[in-house]
């Protein structure tokens, strides 16, 4: 037996030993455990990244008032929880435990399905009530003065419609932040459509505000004639 053959035999023997040790200590059922851990880690890292991005958006949205701190604190809590869960999963020694813990990334956090949509919908609601509605009200006042000054009563119906649309948007959206912030992963687990009513309300409000904006532009165009 030459040197190369001896070396090859030694490698084969070592590989057989390693496989034997793996099978002997962890068992066939634990095959795949590293893959479960890696997938869970990847899922957690992605969610933590998305949460940090959302925190940045909320931090830049001072018009959100008290909702700003509420949401940011909630997201920091989720980041802490996900980080701890990742440590737990990486320490798991059986496939069954790792799978069960990995499922918690979904069932106990619902970052994509619930947390991030809630953050963005609360921001949208606050944008409507704290910025858009006040600005529309200011525009209404100014356009009313201009209509009166230029004696253009035929433009009044645009203004009336504008006020109606803005009022409807404000009334519909005002309760949303409190309702949305009260939702938890348990809420979502019980009803996967739990966000749909709020999303539809915001869609209606956006449609109303677009119409109000068109009214304003129509008034401006009418006044310029």
């Amino acid at each position: 037996m030459n040197t190369l053959t001896k070396a090859g035999t030694a490698v084969a023997a070592t590989a057989t030993l390693a496989l034997g040790v793996t099978a002997g200590t962890a068992g066939a059922a634990e095959v795949g455990l590293p893959a479960i851990k890696a997938a869970a880690h990847q899922a957690i890292v992605a969610r933590v990244g998305a949460l940090n991005t959302a925190i940045g958006v909320v931090d830049q949205s001072s018009f959100m008032g008290a909702d700003q701190a509420t949401l940011v604190n909630g997201m920091h809590t989720d980041i802490t929880g996900l980080t701890q869960l990742d440590q737990t999963i990486q320490a798991d020694t059986t496939v069954a435990t790792a799978k069960a813990d990995a499922q918690k990334v979904f069932t106990e956090f619902r970052i994509y399905a619930l947390v991030l949509p809630v953050v963005h919908m609360v921001r949208a609601s606050d944008l409507v009530t704290a910025k858009l509605v006040p600005d529309f009200n200011t525009v209404e006042t100014k356009l009313q003065a201009a209509i009166t000054k230029q004696d253009e009563p035929n433009l009044e119906h645009f203004l009336d419609d504008m006020k109606t649309k803005v009022g409807a948007a404000q009334q519909a959206v005002s309760p949303l932040p409190a309702q949305l912030e009260a939702l938890t992963p348990v809420s979502y687990n019980a009803n996967h459509a739990v966000l749909q009513p709020a999303r539809e309300t915001l869609e209606t409000a956006r449609t109303d505000l677009r119409a109000a904006r068109e009214d304003a532009h129509d008034i401006v165009a009418g006044l310029k004639k």
Binding site: F106, R110, Y112, H120, L127, V128, D135, K149
Partner: protein, 82 residues
Amino acid sequence: MVALAVLAAGCGGGAAKNVAAVSPTSTSAVATAAPTTTSAPTATPAAAAATTPPELSTIDSDMTSLDGSLAATDQARTQSDG
């Protein structure tokens, strides 16, 4: 999931259409039209200023931001169930 995708697509389309229809073009058109309008005998500088409340530009900007928040909402919801 299909409904959400359609909703998201609808929002995106609406947002794009909205942005295209809104300020940069129409505001600049109004701004450039002002001197001509001002020179017309029926308009005055005060009237021109009164007819274009500056808050309208802010509203246009905030509407775009609203579109962004709702698009982000739909994107997260369609990305994963968890």
